[in-house]
């Protein structure tokens, strides 16, 4: 992989050198945490990149680097991209937050966009999607469909985004099935197919017949298919090759409109540092087709829930809700504010587990 990164880096540098004397298109860089063929998170970001290329044609040139580790390596890759003449760089994983801020400080003329983080600067925007809205729909279907009343959840890192997803899914599963129980495995990786497959198998061994995943590969889908009688949901991408069973629905991240809008802003010179957090209503979070494995009435309820969220009539975090330690969080009818959601570091009442530190 090191060798490949080197070669890629060289190719990027060469490509930039030869096109520099041309008419100078806007250069947009993308930094990916997994390979573009992961079939999940990174795949969808790359689809967004391809949409940018198609939309702007010759006016824009994109460069990307895949499988960039979160941490010091990311800083090197970002520096290289900025030195290579990129005008706008999208960093597409939570762990790139500090590297993005650090590199952005050194290159004030380059615009940066960091996905799922919370640190901003004059030349750093953040953007994310309200995945918890999709999790609510998954929780509803999961609660209705489970027969063992055990729902397995493959979590990645204990960060607010992931905890929000667990809470949202749990609240809505519990609402339709009071006996439901969540078993959560922290994989401490975004992308490690072998580990994800093992985690899925461990959950299935423990009696789970629904697997929710917050990791990026399709390995848990394959494990569920092998085990039989287990349902899953596509994560970040449709993962439609596993439909109608085990994959019964999915959350699809649609970044293309955002990427195109932000690239256009750089070309026009109207780019400003902003914080974007869109959900089902704008289409940034899409719900993949609910397959025939789901009974028609459950499907209709799930779609109604989706419409209510899209219309702003219903918020997935609506009181009364208590925290896992028993303290009150939201009163009857009260809706969670974005600040609390963005920093969420607690389970809601009923989840019998501890968040690893």
């Amino acid at each position: 992989m090191k060798l490949k990164s080197l070669l890629l880096g060289g190719a990027v540098a060469l490509g930039l050198a030869t096109t520099a004397q041309a008419e100078d298109p806007t250069k947009v860089g993308f930094v990916f945490v997994g390979p573009i063929g992961d079939g999940g998170w990174t795949y969808e970001h790359n689809e967004g990149r391809l949409a940018v290329e198609e939309h702007f044609g010759d006016k824009v040139e994109t460069v990307f680097q895949e499988s960039v580790p979160e941490g010091a390596d990311a800083e090197r890759v970002l520096t290289q991209m900025a030195l290579g003449g990129a005008d706008l760089i999208f960093t597409t994983s939570f762990g790139y937050m500090d590297p993005t801020i650090n590199v952005a400080a050194k290159f004030p003329d380059v615009k940066f966009e960091h996905a799922t983080g919370y640190k901003r600067a004059d030349n750093v925007s953040t953007y994310s999607a309200r995945f918890y809205e999709g999790r609510a729909i998954q929780g509803h279907i999961a609660g209705k469909m489970t027969e063992s009343n055990i729902i397995g959840y493959i979590a990645s890192y204990p960060i607010p985004e992931v905890i929000r997803g667990i809470n949202s899914a749990y609240i809505h599963a519990k609402k339709v099935n009071p006996d439901v129980e969540f078993k959560i495995i922290w994989a401490f990786t975004w992308f490690d197919p072998a580990k994800e497959a093992d985690a899925a198998k461990a959950l299935i061994d423990q009696g789970a017949d629904v697997i929710l995943q917050h990791t990026d590969s399709t390995a848990p889908q394959a494990a569920a298919e092998e085990a039989g009688g287990v349902i899953t949901f596509g994560q970040a991408s449709d993962m439609g090759e596993y439909a109608p069973m085990p994959r019964v629905s999915s959350i699809i991240d649609n970044w293309a409109p955002y990427y195109i809008a932000r690239t256009a802003a750089v070309i026009d010179g109207t780019w400003e540092s902003v914080d974007t957090w869109d959900g089902i209503s704008t289409g940034m979070v899409g719900i993949g087709e609910i397959s025939d494995a789901v009974p028609a009435d459950v499907k209709a309820e799930a779609l109604a829930l989706k419409d209510a969220i899209a219309a702003g009539e219903y918020h997935p975090f609506t009181g009364p809700l208590k925290k896992a330690d028993g303290s009150d969080w939201l009163a009857e009818g009260e809706v969670a504010d974005d600040g609390t959601l963005l920093g969420m570091s607690f389970y809601v009442e009923g989840i019998d587990a501890e968040i690893p530190q």
Partner: protein, 310 residues
């Protein structure tokens, strides 16, 4: 019966499957090291096997053919190592590390058009009523064929090394290559064949990951399994039976860690994750305590360059 919310029978059955890749790679490396060669390229050979097996399975539709291709592909890769170290007398440590880097790059290149595809399933061997025996059935008679191939390889290697003339020759070459040479054994030829056997085993181990465990090809998917296999050989103090124990220990701890989490235990999983490595370090420390070297059965000529005229 449940222990900490985990069914031990299910756990043992899963750990047998989960340990198969490192078991295969470790037993191959054991034979290589028994002949006095230290091949640190296990990781590179595993990942090459993973991609070769995946490509052939996708083209032919047969996982069996995939495993054969994985064995052949990795044996060919290990031949590079064999030629460099046995014919051109290159440093074994440096060549082995280079083989790992080369294998990682080569596999990424070969697998580019196979990313995101799904391999066909590899069904368990049907033992009929045997699989229904309580306790023994799920543990022993409900696996895919490669689990048994790995176990038979371990038994075979153990028996050959212990009881056969071939085993004696292999050990003689590894213990003292000059003496073996003086007796008329073809040291270089024997070592090259052993290295290729090790490559084939590592390749099948890698293919087990891409074809059985994950059902897809992912760049860098071995994620350090080759290094664990190397550690197991040292941990096992170069004995086939202990390799089996070591592989189950390493594989089992990883699995136990995930199962404990799923069972809702608050036991800090980091301790479990590090325990096999702590044991390996302990074994290494004991080994480097000099006087105990013989007791630990490290082959006498391990890692030394052999040249017939010197």
């Amino acid at each position: 019966m449940m222990v900490f919310g985990i069914d031990p029978i299910v756990l043992i059955a899963s750990l047998m499957a989960a340990s198969t890749p490192i078991l295969l790679a470790a037993i191959g490396e054991l034979v290589v090291e028994k002949t006095g060669v230290l091949n640190l390229g296990v990781e590179g050979m595993m990942i090459t096997g993973a991609v070769c097996g995946f490509i052939v399975t996708m083209e032919t539709g047969s996982p069996g053919a995939g495993f054969v291709a994985a064995a052949v592909g990795s044996a060919l890769l290990s031949l590079i190592f064999a030629v460099l170290t046995q014919v051109f007398l290159a440093n074994q440590v440096a060549t082995g590390l280079a083989l790992t880097l080369f294998g990682l790059g080569l596999s990424a290149l070969m697998g580019q058009s196979y990313v995101g595809l799904k391999s066909p399933s590899f069904p368990a061997v049907n033992f009929g009523p045997l699989a229904d025996i309580p306790v023994v059935g799920p543990i022993l008679f409900n696996h895919d064929p490669m689990v048994y191939v790995a176990l038979f390889t371990v038994v075979g290697v153990w028996a050959v090394l212990r009881y056969s003339r071939l085993g004696l020759i292999l050990r003689a070459v590894g213990e003292n290559h000059d003496a073996a040479h003086a007796l008329g054994y073809k040291v270089v030829r024997i070592r090259i064949l052993a290295i290729m056997f090790g490559g084939a085993c590592a390749g099948m181990g890698g293919a087990y990951l891409s074809l059985v465990r994950v059902h897809q090809w992912v760049e860098g998917m071995t994620a350090g399994a080759g290094w664990i296999a190397l550690a197991i050989v040292v941990f096992a103090s170069w004995r086939a039976g202990r390799v089996l124990l070591g592989a189950y220990l390493f594989g089992g701890v990883t699995l136990l860690q995930l199962n404990l989490q799923a069972a809702g235990s608050n036991f800090p999983v980091q301790y479990l994750s590090m325990s096999p490595y702590l044991i390996t370090i302990l074994v290494l420390v004991l080994m480097s305590a000099g006087r105990r070297r013989n007791a630990l059965h490290a082959p006498g000529s391990l890692g030394r360059v052999f040249h017939a005229s010197s």
